[in-house]
């Protein structure tokens, strides 16, 4: 699965490539860049699955990153851009996926 992912990314050369590479290497979906985190807790207020949890040093960390659906809510609202993840467009619906898988075959839609 990882092979195909890196292939898909080869056609879009934006900054998110590095992010994806980091996440691939760590084999993780999402993590908080600790030095940037100010501990404001907005991510914990937003995440519908309660994944960001306060850690001992007053900052936040993602517990159970495997439960993340990559909805990007925390990332797009984090005031210091401390959250490292790659947003995945689309919803979890099978029929939405069908459309996206289909259109991916036709062209690179990573504008």
């Amino acid at each position: 699965m990882k092979m195909t992912e890196s292939n898909q990314n080869s056609c879009c050369s934006d900054g998110t490539d590095t992010v994806q590479n980091i996440l691939n290497v760590l084999d993780i979906r999402i993590l908080i860049n600790e030095p940037l985190c100010t501990g404001c807790g907005l991510c914990a207020e937003i995440c519908p699955f309660g994944l960001p949890k306060p850690s001992d040093n007053g900052k936040y960390e993602i517990k159970n990153p495997e439960l993340c659906t990559e909805c990007s809510a925390c990332q797009r609202n984090c005031p210091t851009h401390a959250i490292i993840m790659k947003e995945h467009v689309g919803c979890g619906c099978l029929w939405d996926s069908r459309q996206r898988v289909k259109s991916k075959g036709n062209s690179c839609n990573c504008s």
Partner: protein, 555 residues
């Protein structure tokens, strides 16, 4: 209708005019002639959405000074090239621009013309359009509009059918359709215009209207439009709830975007932002229990908050547009907007412009907690307010919506086909089999929605689907045994039970909220293979079933 197809034609400016004429059966030429008839000479005119520039050049020929703007650079370049003669004497200017930011001074124009633009812009944008036009016009200025509207009576039906046809065509070309101009006539008078001359073509599906600027408030500012209060209690709204519940995954049910009132809000009442899906609106208003609050419904295209946020229908764009089009800045002294927590997947607070006049705060996930949230204003929300739990009640509602989706979009044609073949074969027993099939589909969804938490052991939906498929072989098999008491019957049908439940579980993935789009997209190709294999198996078994029915071996 036909105008929905404009999007395709706009890709090629060279052929746009001739193809658009054939689309509208020449009415667009009549529209231009009518517009020209309304115009005298020596006027300063702005055309918004000038396209290939033909109307602008004709208006110049009548002795006017024209600025023509379009937001499509190809169109502008094409127009500049084609009408280069006219450009020299300074009476005509083509520019890239849009109605959101008109390149003219306030109160500087006699006339603004815009043909076939309205169906390209969304309801709140139409209000911004009218307000900006009002500001740019001189005190007795006029706006001449032509657009596609929904005709009334019988013609509405044929209009809708043709529009549906064009939308299908556009969908195949992967282009978005234009919008239906639904509520435009409501905006005219509140914002500050009066209808003058009016002309209809093709039973009112294409209309040209002259709007005269009037000054409602004497303040030299256009007014705001606010939609009429919508009832959220009583039988009718309950029926609307059911309508949304039964068509959820397929139909968008929009209400007019704009500001609504809960209770009797004043300048000190909180502002709550939500989607313009009718179900969302009714639920929210009921949960607020008439406490005083302003409710701002963004134009999420008639989609619920969560799906809209994930699909670019509830984001910064919609928020900014609603702030500009409505008087939300002045109704309350409160400078905080309370957004639904689930809209965070679409809204990005750090990306909002610096001069954004509000602070944005994310409220609870469910509207039922909104009253408690408003009274306590917790700095940290309790878990019950912020976790998206997929409770039994949610699962039952999701199950109902999903079942109706399956019948409408997946099983309708097969069921009709089987029914027809059974009638042709003239065998009543097989009709019973069809009845059972319908029952199995419903039962599958009952199983999935009630027992969904049992499949927590895996995040892979295919594994969940196989789990529930096996579950239903036993469950539906047991019920089937009560009906038939025949091993042969079970043997012939167990794969069908499995497939129905397997397929339903996969299709249910969108309702759980905790499904990751990445995971489900990765699973899709594999699902497709399994699904195709199962369908072939089911069709073969169906054939054997029919033969056995015909031979009266089973009944």
């Amino acid at each position: 209708m036909a105008v929905a197809y404009m999007r395709k034609l706009e890709e090629e400016p060279e052929t746009y005019d001739s193809k658009f004429s054939s689309l509208t059966k020449g009415v667009n030429v009549n529209v231009h002639d009518w517009v020209l008839d309304q115009i005298q000479s020596d006027q300063s005119i702005l055309e918004i959405g000038s396209g290939t520039g033909s109307l602008a050049s004709k208006m110049v020929s009548k002795g006017n000074i024209v600025v023509a703007i379009d937001n499509n650079i190809q169109m502008i370049n094409y127009a500049k090239q084609k009408y280069s003669d006219n450009l020299e004497n300074g009476a005509l200017l083509y520019r890239l621009g849009s109605f959101t930011d008109l390149p003219v001074e306030d109160r500087s124009l006699d006339l603004i013309v815009s043909t076939f633009l309205l169906s390209e812009i969304r309801p709140l944008e139409q209000q911004i359009f009218l307000r900006n036009v009002w500001k740019a016009l001189k005190p007795k200025g006029r706006l001449i509009l032509a657009a596609e509207f929904v005709p009334s009576g019988f013609w509405k039906v044929s209009f809708k059918i043709r529009r549906w046809w064009f939308k299908k065509k556009l969908h195949r070309l992967r282009l978005k359709s234009t919008f239906l101009v639904k509520w435009f006539f409501n905006y005219i008078e509140p914002i500050g215009f009066k209808i003058g001359n009016q002309k209809k073509w093709k039973h009112g599906s294409i209309q040209a209207i002259e709007l005269l600027k009037i000054n409602n408030n004497g303040e030299d500012e256009p007014d705001y439009y606010r939609p009429k209060t919508k009832k959220f209690k009583g039988l009718v709204s309950q029926l609307r709830i059911y309508r949304c519940l039964f068509t959820g995954q397929i139909d968008r049910v929009p209400i007019e975007p704009g500001i609504y009132k809960s209770g009797n809000p004043g300048s000190n009442s909180p502002i709550i932002v939500t989607a313009n899906y009718e179900y969302t609106y009714i639920k929210l208003m009921r949960d607020l229990q008439c406490i005083d609050a302003w409710v701002l419904c963004l134009d999420s295209n008639g989609i619920n908050v969560w799906c809209a946020a994930r699909g670019d229908d509830f984001g910064n764009k919609q928020l900014l547009e609603a702030i500009e089009a409505t008087d939300v800045r002045v109704v309350s002294e409160k400078k905080t907007l309370i957004l639904p927590q689930l809209s965070a997947g679409g809204v990005a607070i750090p990306q909002l412009p610096e001069k954004f006049p509000f602070k944005v705060k994310y409220g609870p996930v469910w509207s039922k907690d909104l009253n408690q949230f408003l009274s306590e204003r917790p700095v940290r929300k309790p878990d019950s307010m912020k976790l998206a739990k997929f409770t039994l009640l949610h699962r039952i509602r999701a199950g109902i919506t999903h079942t109706t989706f399956l019948f409408r979009k997946i099983f309708l044609i097969p069921i009709i086909a089987i029914l027809l073949s059974f009638i042709a074969l003239n065998n009543v027993a097989i009709i019973w089999w069809l009845g059972e099939l319908v029952l199995w589909i419903v039962l599958s969804n009952v199983i999935i929605s009630i027992f969904f938490p049992l499949s927590k052991f895996t995040r892979k939906f295919i594994a969940k689907a196989v789990f529930f498929g096996c579950f239903s072989i036993f469950f539906i098999g047991a019920i089937s045994w009560i009906f038939h008491s025949s091993y042969l019957y079970l043997l012939l049908n167990f794969a069908i039970y499995f497939w129905i439940t397997f397929f339903s579980t996969m299709s249910f993935s969108g309702y759980t909220m905790s499904t990751s789009p990445k995971e489900i997209q990765a699973e899709y190709p594999f699902f497709r293979k399994i699904n195709l294999t199962l369908i072939i198996l089911v069709v073969i078994l169906l054939g054997i079933n029919i033969i056995f029915f015909m031979l009266n071996i089973i009944n």
